[in-house]
Subunit: 266 residues, 3 copies
C-alpha cells in the first residue's frame, strides 16, 4: 500500500507543469523516504530528477518500494481538475495496475477521485555523482526564465559566463547578437530578489536555449533558481521545494568555439 | 411595430454567447408577453428554450406577434459592439426584413445602431410538457461548468447520480476514470454558493459531455444552475435571469449499462 | 557617432508595436534635431511618419546625419527584451553596419545589449504639405480603436462624417449595416475623455478599415487621437507623444458613392 497526502496539492500540479513538456513517460519511485522520479527528456539530451521527501507530506505510508509508471500528459490532465487549494492524496496498491488521485476542496464540499492506469516503463536509474562545482549562481527564477525566453527570440544557443561580479548570458543569430548581464546583488529588500555567486573559478559554457526554456517552466515552484556549472560537466538547474525536496535539471554543454577539444557533444 | 429597451444590455450579450455555439439560426418570437426563442442545436440532439418577459424590459411594445429569424453568429457580432454598460434597444417593423439594435452608452456620448438582415427559418415549436422531476439539484453555475469541463478531459459521457446526500458526476476514458461528488450544502455565507437537492427518488442518467459544456456557457447569466432529472426524460439545465426570465437546455440521456432497455437513444 | 538615451524606454517599445504591422523595413533618420522615420506600408497605400525630438531624450548626440535601415520585426524582437521600466540607449557608429540597443533596469542590476544588423533600404522622403483641414476631431484613442475594431466585424470600409455636433462612423456588409456616432463632449472629468470637434466645413470620406485598425495599434502611446480630414486629401491620424514628438498615419480616401468624380483611388 502506498498513500501520500499533500496539503498543498498545488505543488504537485506545478511539478507536473514543470516536467510534462520535457518528459513523456516516467516511473514515480515510492519508498518510505520519498516519492521521487528520474527521467531523460524525449530526445535523450536532458535529465530531470525530482525528490519529494516523505516528511513533507501530511501523511505518508509506503509499505514496500513500488514504481508507478505514468504518462505525464495524462497525469497532468487529472491534476488540472484539482483546485489550487485542494488537498491531494495519491493511493496505490502494491501490486495494482492503477493509481488513484483524491482531491478534497478546503471546505470538504467537493470530493473527486481520478483513477489513472499505470504503464510499464523501461528505465535505468543513472547515478549522479556528487560534484564540487566551479560556479554556483542563485538568482530569481523569474529573471532566469525571462532571460532564456528573451534570448530565444535571437539565437538557439546561449553562452553562460560566470565571473565573481556577475553572470552573463550571450547569444547570436541571423538578426544580430545579444548579451544580458546580471550583477551579484545581495543588498535587496526581499531575499528572493538576491543574486548570489559562489565561485571557485570562472567558467563559460554553451547550452541549447530550448532546454533551458523547458527547465524554466519550474519557476512557479520556487522564487529562486540555482545554476551549477563546471567545465565539461552538465549544467545543473535546481529549484528547491520548501520543506519537501527539489527538482533538478541536467543538461550537457554544447561544444563551441571556446572549447579546446571536440568531445562530439553536439 | 416591435420595440424593446433593455437597460442591462449585457444580458442580451451573455444570452447570445450562451446560445451561439449550440444554435446557428433561430426565430426570436415577439409577443406582448415576452421575447422568446426555441431551437434545436445543429445536430438535432439538444433543445434550447429562452424567455425574456416583457415586464423585465424598461420599455416593451409589440403591436402584433412577429417572428424574427436571425443567424446567431451575426447577431453576436453586432452585440459584441455594445459596451457592457450600454442600454440596448431592439426595433423591428411588423413586416420589415431587418431588425435594428440601438446601443447607448451610459453617458449618452456614444450612439450606435446596427441593422441586421432577417432570415426565413423553418421551425416548429415543440410543446414541452410540464413534468414533476425525480430530482432537482441547484448548485453554483461555476462549479457545474468546471466539473463538466474537467471531466471532458477524461471521457466523452458523464453519469450523473443524485442521492439525498449529494450529486456525483462520473466518467471514464482511455486514460482512466473519474468521479466528482458535490455534497448538499446549505450552510453557506453567500446563497449563490449553496448546493440544494430536492429528491423524490434517486436517479442516475448518462449524458454526452460536449452538450453539457455548451450549456455551461450560460454560466455568466446566473450564479446558480438547476439540473432536473427523471428516468427516461431529458435532463433540464436551467439558468434563471433575475426579474426577466430564464434559459433552459434539454438533453436526452444516453443509453448506458445502467439502463434496462434499449430505447435507441444513442 | 549617434547616441540617444531614453529614460522612458517603454515609449520606443510602444512605437515599434504601432508600426511593425504596417511597415516591414524602414530607415530611422538621425539628425541633431530628431530621430525620425517616414515609410509607406507594405502595400504602398498608407504612410507612417514619426518624429522624436532630440530634446525629449535624457541624452542625445548626433555628430552627423545618419540613416539606419532596420527590419521593424527584428527591432521589435530586441525591444521586447527590454523591461517596461528599463532605460533604453541606442548607439551607432557613423559608418557602422549595426546599431546597439542598451537596456538598463531601474536598479542597475541587469544590463543588456542587443546588436542589430543594419540594412540598405531604398526610400524617398515624401514632402507632406502643411494643410488647413476642413475638420479636426480629437477623441479618446481607446474609443477610436474600439470603433474601427467593432465596425471591422461588419464591413470593409467606413464612411467617416464630421458635422459640428459629432463624428459618425458608418459601414455595411453582407450581414447588415452599422452607424456609430460620438458627440462633441468637452464637459468631462478627465481631459483624456473629451471629444472636441474643430470644423471649417462638414466632410464625409470613406476609408479602408484594415488600415485604420493598424493605425489604432498606436493607442498605448497617447490617450487622445486626432483625425484630420479634407475632401480629396488623405486622412491624418495623429498620436502625440508627450514632450517628445508624434506619430502620424496618412491614408487616402476610398472612392465611394458620395464622391462625384472617380479618381481611381481604389
Amino acid at each position: 500500500m502506498f498513500e501520500a497526502r499533500l496539503d498543498q496539492g498545488v505543488l504537485l500540479k506545478k511539478l507536473l507543469e514543470a516536467m510534462k513538456e520535457l518528459v513523456s513517460d516516467a516511473n514515480f519511485e515510492c519508498s518510505p523516504q520519498a516519492l521521487s522520479l528520474q527521467a531523460m527528456d524525449t530526445s535523450h539530451v536532458a535529465l530531470v530528477q525530482m525528490t519529494l521527501r516523505s516528511d513533507g507530506f501530511a501523511h505518508f505510508r509506503c509499505d514496500r518500494n513500488i514504481s508507478m509508471g505514468m504518462n505525464l500528459a495524462n497525469m497532468s490532465k487529472c491534476l488540472k481538475c484539482a483546485g489550487n487549494d485542494d488537498i491531494i492524496t495519491m493511493k496505490a496498491e502494491d501490486t495494482g495496475d492503477s493509481v488513484t488521485f483524491l482531491f478534497e476542496s478546503p471546505g470538504q464540499e467537493r470530493h473527486s477521485d481520478f483513477e489513472l492506469k499505470l504503464m510499464d516503463i523501461d528505465s535505468e536509474q543513472l547515478g549522479i555523482p556528487d560534484t564540487e562545482y566551479s560556479a554556483t549562481v542563485k538568482m530569481p527564477s523569474s529573471e532566469f526564465q525571462r532571460i532564456v525566453k528573451d534570448l530565444s527570440t535571437i539565437g538557439e544557443a546561449v553562452l553562460i559566463s560566470v565571473s565573481k561580479d556577475g553572470i552573463k548570458f550571450s547569444t547570436s543569430g541571423d538578426i544580430g547578437s545579444a548579451n544580458i548581464s546580471v550583477r551579484q546583488n545581495t543588498n535587496v529588500d526581499k531575499p528572493e530578489d538576491a543574486t548570489v555567486i559562489d565561485l571557485q573559478e570562472p567558467v563559460s559554457l554553451s547550452f541549447a536555449l530550448r532546454y533551458l526554456n523547458s527547465f524554466a517552466k519550474a519557476s512557479p515552484l520556487s522564487s529562486q533558481v540555482s545554476l551549477r556549472m563546471s567545465k565539461e560537466l552538465p549544467l545543473v538547474v535546481q529549484y528547491r521545494i520548501v520543506d519537501m525536496g527539489e527538482i533538478n535539471f541536467y543538461l550537457a554543454p554544447k561544444v563551441d568555439d571556446d572549447d579546446e577539444m571536440d568531445n562530439g557533444n553536439e
